[in-house]
């Protein structure tokens, strides 16, 4: 797991504290019951702060899994 993924896992832990750490990397909106609109926005805020990047509201509904979020973070933030 690269540095960005490890930091992203921590972001997920903040927003979804009940989600077992082992399941975070495979998490998606369809598998995490509490991943609704407000959780998505909260996650977006945490990620914005963690990586010092800005997330477009228009993108939010599409970033609906850990994998997609990680790909977006890699493409947007200057991280390894």
């Amino acid at each position: 797991m690269d540095d960005a993924a490890a930091r992203l896992v921590k972001c997920f832990q903040v927003v979804f504290p009940d989600l077992p750490p082992a399941k975070i990397a495979s998490a998606s909106q369809s598998t995490v019951e509490t991943w609704d609109s407000i959780a998505a926005v909260t996650l977006g805020n945490v990620i914005e702060e963690e990586f010092s990047i800005e997330m477009d509201f228009e993108l939010l509904a599409e970033l609906n899994s850990f994998d997609r979020m990680l790909a977006w973070v890699h493409s947007t933030a200057k991280v390894s």
Binding site: Q29, S30, E33, W35, D36, S37, I38, A40, V41, T42, G44, N45, M55, F57, E58, L60, A61, N64
Partner: protein
């Protein structure tokens, strides 16, 4: 992704049921009067327009989301602007898992309105709006409270508490009236019955409308009412019996000059809620506020509360008002940045008549 449609009358029963589930946690069938209220507010309002539909969200054919939209009009810089006020933003979290709220909010914010506005928003929706690029007006999110009868105020606030503290407050409430009687004798102006030399005159809705036109607003952003829509709006406010008696009052100085007016709902023994205060000149605010507090006292109110009025914060402080940041926010997104700047600097005549605070969805006991 589900499907977003314009709210039509055929959706009323399902939306009413969704409201009861989402806002009240009830699975009871929606009563006819709740459905009538949805029809009256969203289809019977005088500003209703297909350009500004309320939205419903379907997931696999099932209605799981609703975003109420009320078109309104305001004036900015001498021109009329279109405002879309939101109300009753609800998603069925039991039967649906997804991003309906994001998708409905996105659709709404892309509408043709000059100003997207809401003023009764809780923390979660606040986060959604601000992530979408809206701004929170912390200034207009402040509320003020003028305590008239301290024990009565404690009783009306404490009466809502649950558990041992709530039971204690309710048990002790029999002492509220004698305590307030004694407090009113203490030599402190904050505790004594408010006095004013100004005269209050009860107005009809039409008289109030004419008074408002005479008084006007000096802020850059101001409400626009025509008589027909104002009559409808006031009939809705008056129908909110749980908020108490509606007072429509003009205030005149001892010289006979009109100072301004106030619109207020008073519950004897409870709070008086100010819907709007208007003044001819800002220096006359104290006259109107003084008359308001005196009248509220005489109607038996234990306190008076209202939304922050930026130009009058010092006046309200001098009238012994307390300020608190409510747990709901005033949020907006303006197409013209000058409108947003006016709101942020407090140069907007926003009142409880202009958002969703006059609606009865939250206050009425529907079931």
């Amino acid at each position: 992704m589900g499907e977003i449609c314009a709210f039509t009358e055929e959706h009323v029963a399902e939306v009413s049921a969704l409201f009861l589930r989402g806002m009240r946690g009830s699975r009871e069938a929606p009563p006819e009067r709740l459905q009538d209220y949805f029809r009256e507010i969203f289809f019977g309002n005088p500003w209703a327009s297909p350009e500004f539909p309320s939205l419903v969200y379907f997931d696999r054919g099932k209605l799981v989301g609703f975003l109420g939209v009320l078109p309104r009009e305001m004036e900015f810089g001498g021109r009329r602007i279109r405002v879309a006020v939101t109300s009753q933003f609800v998603v069925d979290r039991e039967q649906y898992q997804g991003f309906a709220a994001i998708e409905m909010l996105r659709r709404y914010l892309r509408g043709p309105q000059d100003l997207s506005f809401c003023d009764g928003v809780g923390e979660g929706v606040d986060r959604l709006w601000t992530f979408a690029g809206a701004q929170a007006s912390r200034l207009y999110s402040f509320n003020w409270l003028r305590v008239l009868r301290p024990a009565g105020t404690a009783r009306s606030f404490g009466g809502r508490l649950e558990g041992p503290l709530g039971r204690f407050v309710r048990a002790a409430s029999v002492a509220a009236a004698p305590l307030d009687f004694l407090a009113a004798k203490l030599p402190h102006p904050a505790l004594r019955p408010p006095r004013s030399e100004c005269a209050s005159t009860t107005l009809s809705v039409d008289e109030l409308y004419r008074t408002m036109q005479e008084v006007g607003w000096r802020e850059a952003l101001k409400p626009y009412y025509d008589l027909a829509s104002f009559r409808w709006l006031m009939s809705q406010v008056a129908a909110n019996r749980t908020a108490g008696d509606l007072l429509l009052t003009a205030v005149h100085a001892p010289s006979g000059d009109l100072c301004g007016y106030y619109i207020c709902q008073v519950q004897p023994g409870g709070a008086a809620s100010v819907m709007q205060i208007g003044v001819r000149r800002h220096d006359q605010f104290d006259n109107v506020a003084g008359a308001l507090f005196r009248d509220a006292w005489q109607h038996g109110a234990s306190s008076v509360k209202g939304q922050a009025i930026p130009y009058a914060l010092v006046n309200l402080t001098n009238h012994y008002c307390l300020f608190r940041q409510a747990n709901t926010s005033v949020l907006f997104q303006a197409r013209d940045s000058a409108i947003g700047e006016a709101i942020l600097r407090g140069d907007a005549a926003l009142s409880r008549l202009d958002g969703e605070c006059w609606l009865r969805f939250a206050t009425e006991k529907w079931i």
